[in-house]
């Protein structure tokens, strides 16, 4: 029953700023004119009464979808943080800035060289990853012997610099980035409309997360990485270039952020503040999942995205804080996070 609708753009797409749900999406269902919708009797069936709240089902599905989308970004970003934390034992405060740079790289690839979305999806992480490698070599390497808090403060300073520069040159408003033609339109799932692009974001994020998990947990390269986390001196004795591995790990984590940035570019406009808006939630996700846990960051990312979406339906006032409340509860029960080893 999947029917492709030849809509150039789905209601709500591109209209929202930030990750807040576009007011039109879901709440009113499909765009007027296209699909008349069921009559009043049927519409009543689209509502459920829960704890005295009247929840319309399209709204519920809409928020679930937005939750999954946000979860995709949370998962990709917290995965990058977890990979970096595992190897370098630093929290990369510049992660949000690299995410934003990924989106800007996609924008400039299109504007200046005409390379489309698909090229950006590959090139932008490579470019930003290379910048990350330079940062690691120039700055982080030299702080290796000091308290890890210094590295954290360094990335914090870098984030300020990057963000300030982008804000200076591009202002606070967003630059538009169109959805690629191949991913336009929406599927009719019978109970709701799924914009193709959003479906793609979820699939792409899950695939990359799963791939990363597979590489780290199941391959020889991943074994080196994990061993390097446990005992770098020993791994070095086996003839592995640990410093280079650290550089590449940082570059890879940062590239994941840039990949998420490219995915986000068509949904939220390309804005200098886009990283700062999302990164603190991602930190909470990392704490809940357990710092440095690969699987933990992926699962927690998606689950928290969905929980956040559901909160928007049932108790909108708490939707911004729910992640932090969950974090506090998790910390009460398991101070090292859900998937973390005890510190």
């Amino acid at each position: 029953m999947l029917r492709m609708l030849l809509l150039p753009r789905f209601a709500g797409e591109d209209s929202g700023s930030g990750f807040s749900p576009p007011p039109r999406s879901g709440a009113r269902g499909p765009p007027e004119g296209r699909w008349r919708g069921p009559g009043s009797r049927a519409r009543r069936r689209l509502e459920v009464n829960l704890f005295g709240h009247v929840i319309s089902l399209p709204q519920l599905y809409g928020q679930l979808l937005i939750g999954l989308i946000n979860g995709s970004f949370y998962a990709l970003l917290s995965l990058g943080l977890a990979v970096i934390f595992g190897m370098l034992t630093i929290v990369n405060f510049a992660h949000g800035a690299f995410y934003m740079m990924g989106a800007f790289a996609a924008y400039f690839l299109l504007k200046l060289t005409g390379l489309n979305y698909w090229w950006a999806l590959i090139l932008s992480p490579l470019i930003v990853g290379a910048i990350g490698a330079v940062v690691e070599i120039l700055f982080l390497k030299r702080l290796a012997g000091f308290d890890p808090l210094y590295s954290l403060l360094l990335t914090f300073g870098l984030a300020l610099i990057i963000q300030g520069l982008f804000q200076y040159y591009f202002g606070a408003s967003g630059l538009p980035y169109a959805i690629p033609k191949e991913l336009g339109g929406a599927y009719n799932l019978g109970f709701m409309f799924l914009p193709v692009y959003r479906g793609w974001v979820i699939v792409a994020s899950m695939a990359v997360c799963f791939g990363t998990w597979l590489v780290i947990e199941k391959t020889k390269l991943g074994a080196y990485l994990r061993a390097g986390t446990e005992n770098p001196t020993m791994v070095r004795a086996f003839g592995i270039n640990v410093p280079r591995m650290i550089t590449l790990t940082y570059a890879f984590g940062v590239a994941l952020a840039a990949f998420a940035g490219v995915l986000a570019a068509p949904i939220n406009q390309v804005r200098p503040g886009m990283g700062a808006d999302i990164i603190v939630v991602v930190f909470a996700v990392v704490v809940i999942g357990g710092m440095g846990s690969i699987l933990g960051s992926i699962v927690t990312g998606f689950v928290l995205g969905v929980i956040e979406g559901l909160t928007k339906v049932f108790y909108p006032e708490a939707s911004n804080t729910v992640v932090f409340v969950i974090m506090a509860l998790v910390l009460l029960i398991r101070p090292s996070g859900l998937f973390g080893r005890t510190a």
Partner: protein, 323 residues
């Protein structure tokens, strides 16, 4: 050749430190006294509030080695509560400030009890998350008026007698609050309690093995730091006559780290110097707009890479004293 000379040197060093601290304190008090005649008094009062805030932060990072990246929640909450108490409940300023301090102390106790169970980077992340929670609470809660903040907070009469709406009186009041907080931090650090905090900083497992409950000491330090940060925030609300989201924001938490880092961690005067440097930088570079953020970032990176002792720390190390 006995051990006799060693204690003599130690005594000498302690004496030197004591003298250096007296001189530094006298210089600071003189500067505070002269400042309003040289610079814009409101600017100095603002800087003093931030200096007190940085001292509170330094109590944690400098003497217990706990990096709190969410200290703005204490500054901001106290500022909101104080502003609300003064404006809506009509309390006189001193009581309003005390109510604000009580709020931030309570918040410090609750968040501290949760955060203190972890340390290092974990601790930092948890404080970030809590401060973000407080931030969103401040956006949503009705009494904070969201984006508008609480405006036109009355300065009123302190204790019903002293009119704070007079800028000179207000200046003396703020200077008094600052010195009270500053000496409070010094008293805490130099007390037996402070010695245990420093011991925890150096070697926590050993302190635990000596029979101290390190976590309770850390929690006490965290709560005290929250209280002093709250004192700074509440006073700031009376000075600026408003309370806004800026004071609860993550950027503010970052700024206080910068102040302490620039001035010098684990020094008494470092946070004060750092706060004045950062606030002046913001004030005099304000015309450059976004460049302020960039410059702050550059200072951050420069401090971390090359200048980890900060201004006061560097001076003290040169003169072989501790300030």
């Amino acid at each position: 050749m006995t051990t006799a000379p060693a204690p003599a040197i130690a005594v000498d060093l302690a004496e030197r430190n004591r003298r250096a601290n007296w001189v530094a304190f006298a210089v600071m008090v003189c500067l505070i006294a002269i400042a309003p005649f040289v610079a814009y008094p409101f600017f100095i009062m603002n800087a003093l509030c931030f200096a007190l805030f940085a001292c509170a932060f330094n109590l944690l990072i400098g003497y217990v080695n706990l990096l709190s990246l969410g200290h703005a929640m204490f500054l901001g909450l106290a500022s909101y509560v104080c502003a609300h108490a003064a404006k809506v409940w009509g309390l006189e300023p001193v009581s309003a400030i005390l109510v604000g301090v009580a709020a931030s102390t309570a918040l410090g106790f609750v968040t501290g009890a949760l955060a203190i169970r972890s340390s290092g980077i974990y601790f930092a992340m948890i404080t970030v998350a809590f401060s973000q929670m407080v931030y969103f609470f401040s956006v949503e809660a009705p009494f904070t008026h969201g984006e508008d903040g609480i405006q036109a907070v009355p300065q009123g009469r302190a204790l019903g007698l002293i009119p704070l709406s007079n800028p000179w009186v207000l200046y003396v009041f703020v200077a008094g609050v600052f010195l009270f907080g500053f000496l409070g931090v010094q008293r805490i650090v130099n007390s037996p309690f402070g010695e245990i905090l420093k011991a925890i900083r150096e070697n926590e497992p050993r302190v635990v093995s000596l029979g101290y409950r390190a976590m309770q000491y850390e929690l006490a330090a965290f709560t005290l730091s929250a209280a002093i940060a709250g004192l700074a925030g509440a006073t700031k609300a009376i000075v600026a006559q408003n309370a806004s989201l800026t004071d609860v924001s993550f950027a503010m938490s970052g700024e206080v780290v910068l102040m302490t880092l620039v001035g010098g961690m684990a020094t008494f005067y470092g946070p004060v110097v750092g706060a004045i440097v950062v606030v002046s930088m913001q004030n005099y570079l304000a015309q450059f707009g976004e460049w302020v953020t960039v410059i702050q970032g550059v200072v951050f990176v420069a401090c971390v890479m090359a200048f980890r002792r900060g201004i006061v720390g560097e001076l003290a190390a040169r003169a072989k004293i501790s300030l």
